[in-house]
Each structure stands twice: as C-alpha cells, then as structure tokens.
Point group: C2
Chain length 398, copies 2
C-alpha cells in the first residue's frame, strides 16, 4: 500500500526567542504526520532531519488526480512507513522542517516582517537548541506532551540528543544515529570551506542575491561536492568509481564502453568520480538556498552541549532521563564511531539506560540513510521494545 | 654554517615530446645544487618536489650585500644540508623545479613562442613521466649518468618511483616518502573540487586571467583550504585548534584572552580553525599560479604506472632495479600507509631490495616535511648505507 503524504503548515504568531538573544517575530513550520496518534497520546515519534532534508520523511506525494508524483519519495521512506522498521501502523510519526531551511518552514527566502523584503543574511542564526524549542511548540499544538521517541541521524541525531537535555520529561527514548556530541576541527573546517565558496561567489551579493535575480550556483556546487566527499567512505568511492574514466560522449554507461585512454585535459571531465561530483553539485545548486546552507552548517558548528560545562560531557548529559539507542558506522569518517562512543560513555557514567550498535558498513556517513539489514534490524528491535513498554504503560504494568 | 643557495637556470632548445603527444618547443628548468659532485660522479642525489614547492630545497638566499633574505629557507632544509640527514658534505644534491610550475621553470605564465603571449590554458598537460624525462635531460647536461639516489615525498615520491621505471639503470636508490602508486577516487575528488573552484572563479577567464590583469584568488583560496584540510590529520587539528574560538579583535594570541562566547555569525570568523584556513588561503592566492594548480593536480591524477599493465603493479614495477626505502605516516589519510605497502608488496613480489618504515606520527600527510627523530633517523641510516656502498664502489669492493 502506497503511503500518501500530506504536507501541513502551522503558523506561530508569538515571537520565538533564540539562543543568540535575537527573536524571530512570527514563523511557520512545515510538517507531516504518518499513522494515528492513539487515545493515550503515547505513540508519537518525532523525526529530526539533517542538512539536506525536510519534513517529508516518508511516503510519496499525489497530484490532484491522485497519481503519485515522480521522485516524491520521503527521505527516510526505507525506514518509516506501514509495516516498516518504524511502523506507522503502531506509531504516530511526525516530520518537521527546521526553521531557516528552504523546504517550507520560514527561512531566509521568506519575507522579513520588519523590512518587508526577503530575510536573506538578516535571518537570525538558529541553533539545534532553537530547532528543538520550535519543535516542542509544534508538539504543544498537536497536544503531545511526551514523545515515545525522538530519532535522527547526523545533525538530526544532535537534535534528538538535545531533546533529552532541553525537555528531559518529554522524551522517553532517543535514537541517535551517525552523530556526535559536537563537531571536530576537521568537520568545522569542511563547513567553513563550503561557506567561503558560497560567500565569495560574486552572485551571492552579501546574501541578497534574491534582489538580483541570481543564485550563487558556483559556490553551492563547490559546497555540495565537498559535502559529498565527506558523506562517502574512501572504500565505497573506490568500489563505485575507482580510477574509471568517464565515458566518451555518446557512449552508454556500460563498463565495456568505458574509455581506455586519457584525454590529457585539466578542465574537462576525465574520471567518473569527477562526473558524479559535478552532477551532484549541479543538481544541488538548482534547489538549495545559499543562506540556508550557511545557517545549517553553522548550527552544526555551534552544537556542543558540553560547552557550558567546560567540556565535561558527563555533566552535560546528567539531566537526560530518556533511554538511548546509539548507532554508528565503521567507515563513517565524518561522524566516526568514537564520537558516538563518547556519548555512550557519558550516558553510562550517568547510569543511564543506553544501547549501542557499531555497524560494519562500507558506505561511510551515508550509511544511515541506506538499507542495511543489521542496522534496520537493530532499530526495528528497539522500536519493538518501545511498543512493548507502551503496552505496559497502557495496562499499567510498569 | 649557513648554506647560501644559488638559483640556476638551464635552457633546452630541443623540443620535449610529452606523454600526451604534444611537445613543448623550448623551455628552461630552474635548479639548485648543494655540495660537490665527486670525481666519480657517484654521489648525486636528485630531490623531487610536490605540489607547492620548488628547486629551492635547502639553504637560504642572500641579497647582494650578503645578508640572508627573510623567510628564504628551502622547503626541505630540515632534512638537507651540511651535517644534516641528507648530508651535503658527502652528497651532491640537486633540486629541480618542475615544468609547468610557477617558481622559475617554464610554465603557463611564460610566453608561448607560438603565440607570443602567455601560455595560460594552452600550456600542455605535463605528467610525472614528462617531469622525469626533463630531469634526466638536466642530469645529462650536468654530466651525471647515474644517481646515487632519487628522493621525494608525496607527488615527489611518485617522481622517484617513476625514475626507477623510466631510467632503471640511472638510479641506484629510490626513497619514496608518504606517497602512493596512484590516487584513489577520493584523492581525485578533492583535486577536482579544488580545480572547479578555480575554473569557475569569474576571474579565471578560461585561464587567460593574465590578459585581464586579475588573479582568480577566490578559487585559489578555496583550493588551498581544501588542500590544507587533507594535509593534516583529524588528531593534529583537534590538538592544535579544537573548537577554540578566534580571539576578539585586538586581543593577543594568548589562550587566556580567547573569547568564551559565540558571536552567532554565519560569515565572520568564529573558530580558530577558520582563521587558520583563511590565512593559508589568502597567503597562497598571493603567489601561486592558477593554471599551475590545474596542471600539477592533474599530474597527480594521471600518475598510475600499473595502468598499462591492466592494474598489475607487480608487473609495472618489474623493470625497476634500484633499491628502495619507503616511509609512510600512520595518520596520513591523503597517502595512507596501505598505499605505500602496495608498492612494498609489488617490489617484494619482484624480489627487489626494499626497506619500509611506518612512522607513528600525529601530523598527517604534512609529517614528511616535519622534524621527527624516528623518521629523519631512518632516512639518515639509509643515506649512511648509500655512502658505504659508494665507498665500496670507489675501492672496487662491490
């Protein structure tokens, strides 16, 4: 059965005070829900998204005549849906687009009520904590006082972790996948290069490119190419592309038709990996907002719950009361297993209930979005445990 | 005693046929020599350079009044000089600037005799093999028929390896440091992003920026920032910069004055690592030629001696008769130890004389340029062995 998703929007008239001290006067959040909230309102699961995703987590969109729209599948549809790992026959799943994003919720391309022009570079810096606060307000409106679980990968995992610290009593379980307690210097460095590529693109116009009818595509392409390299492992890149040359023009993708001879060129595509990266960069530059890219990478940079405890993660996590599942992937060098283990250690030091799985997968950071039976199996078992707990809650057995 | 270096230049009137099939009509090579060639001409050591280096390997430059020029120390001066690891009291050391570079030898910013304008994008693509051929012609002019050793790190190591294949009887020893038998897909990917940043900079003008009196500095900055990330290890970046915030304006570098509070900015420098990378990018954009960057990264991409043997490195290296020392560094993720081990394995499979040292150093790829007593000690011991062999050669004991 095809799950048809319906994007929704909720408007918030009350200003939101941000971590930076600034406020956002009025805003909307785009969201989607799948499955049914039970009478006890105990089966809600919030899905937090990473850099390049949205509230459209699962299912597909249908057009007015009911036909499925091409390429409209939700970004975590392999994990979430009826009968899937996170089973929407049992859980009420909520996807929310983060503030500052470019997929529906209020962001830099929307009108700033103060200036009556696009926010552009004036959109306030938003943090993981701000996103969690805004998600909590959305849940208030939906009448959900406590989540059965919050789940996210990468930057989404940071939000899941932050939920357990900002609203400890509103989350029973947190599933934190391919994430980290903060970015390393190297992570920040890659973000910074991507931001510099965007900001120094002459068509960025100090963030006011909307006024000029242009898009800083050069910068966005470079940013996306850098991103893609860090999402993949060295191994999977070698397996998928290796040193294969790009097909000559007019030849198919069949390996038998691969070129054998170098062209000796510095600017034309020579290797398959170059062609892949250019394609990814071009595609991204067509739809992603440059100001959003700056905001979201900065939210990543700033996240660091141990910061106000002089770097002591144990102390930072001492307020969390949720139960945890952490998952990491061996070849993920962007958010390496040792970063997940830091969180596990700090939780154990606080005597918290935490499960941890380190999956030996070849796909690097991207693995959290892919089908891997061991990975999906573990997440499935964990949601089964939550279901069982929920039944006990309902019958008063716990 | 300060070693005063003297840059020299040699002109070659005979056209050089390149691997691409093109020729370069006439060209000059900049070079320097240190120490004295002995009567037997058996003590010559050629030093091959990597991306951002030159013929100025050791010593300093003096101005006309004999005073040492500021910041004029050769790039491998910690390794090479009188009484040093590679001891110029015993060896005659030669540094050559590669064709296509921007430090003296004929390159894209020089006049193309065909057009009587700068070569720019018309400078032919040069390969590691082409560089080795041109170096061999220089040695011919210097009257050196056989090298005691050829040594290089990174791209320089590729040249050292190629010497043993192109001129097996002209090299007795090859020292290949922090190198690889070819680039991985990930290596090529980083080069490609850097090239795209340069080529898509509006001030690149399809490589003819000289005509416009501009330099594609935006692109060069991005290229250098990406490069720097890959030269360092995650560990050393965390140790050196971590998540430290950049000093507020007017404050010193003393850690006590580090800012404690986030500024909440997407475009200003927030973290120390950002400041470091921007500084490196700015510095590089002041002196490096954009067309040279394209040429040198392409030479890296193209190097692959196993290619014409269907990927069989053992077969590719079967023509080498030199003795080898390979050195790699544990935290080097650009040219990781397993890449050096591939070369070692292929040499052993050919029953060649090969020593291999894997140095547990924290500094990543950059380690090959740094002082590490174990690393320099091993290279020193190897050169001692070469000296002893040379004495035996002279006395006819071998």
């Amino acid at each position: 059965m095809t799950l048809i998703a319906q994007p929704l929007s909720m408007h918030f008239a009350k200003p939101l005070l941000l971590q930076s001290g600034k406020t956002i006067r009025a805003y909307s959040l785009s969201y989607e829900t799948y499955g049914k909230l039970n009478a006890e309102k105990s089966n809600a699961v919030l899905v937090c998204h990473a850099l390049n995703a949205s509230h459209h987590v699962a299912g597909v969109y249908a057009n007015e005549s009911g036909a499925v729209e091409d390429k409209s599948t939700g970004w975590w549809d392999n994990m979430i849906g009826p009968g899937k790992t996170l089973d929407t026959n049992h859980f009420f799943v909520i996807g929310v687009n983060n503030l500052g994003s470019c997929f529906g919720s209020t962001g830099p391309m929307h009108i700033n009520p103060d200036s009556e022009k696009e926010y552009g570079p004036d959109f306030p810096v938003v943090t993981v904590e701000d996103w969690v606060n805004s998600q909590a307000l959305l849940l208030d409106q939906l009448g959900i006082s406590q989540l059965a679980a919050v789940i996210g990968g990468s930057l989404g995992g940071m939000q899941a972790l932050s939920w357990t610290l900002q609203y400890p009593n509103r989350v029973r379980h947190a599933l934190i996948i391919a994430s980290a307690p903060n970015l390393t210097a190297e992570n920040i460095a890659f973000n910074e290069v991507a931001r510099r590529a965007i900001v120094t693109d002459p068509e960025f116009h100090a963030g006011r490119f909307y006024d000029h009818g242009v898009v800083p595509k050069r910068g966005l392409r470079i940013a996306r190419m850098i991103g893609h390299i860090t999402y993949l492992s060295d191994d999977v890149m070698n397996a998928k592309f290796g040193r294969q040359l790009k097909n000559a023009l007019g030849l198919g993708d069949d390996k038998k038709t691969l070129r054998a001879e170098y062209q000796y060129t510095t600017q034309e595509v020579e290797f398959q990996i170059e062609s892949y990266l250019r394609y990814q960069g071009d595609k991204f530059a067509e739809y992603f907002d440059a100001n959003t890219y700056l905001l979201i990478t900065r939210a990543l940079d700033y996240f660091d719950p141990a910061r106000k405890f002089a770097g002591d993660l144990k102390q930072a996590l001492s307020h969390a009361v949720a139960k945890f599942l952490l998952v990491s992937f061996t070849t993920d060098w962007r958010f390496a297993p040792n970063r997940s283990r830091e969180i596990v250690k700090a939780l154990l030091d606080n005597h918290r209930d935490v499960s941890y799985a380190e999956i030996d997968a070849p796909h690097g950071h991207d693995a959290f979005l892919l089908d891997d039976t061991r990975y999906l199996g573990i997440v499935h078992s964990y949601f089964d445990k939550i279901l069982l707990e929920n039944k006990n809650l309902e019958t008063g057995n716990e």
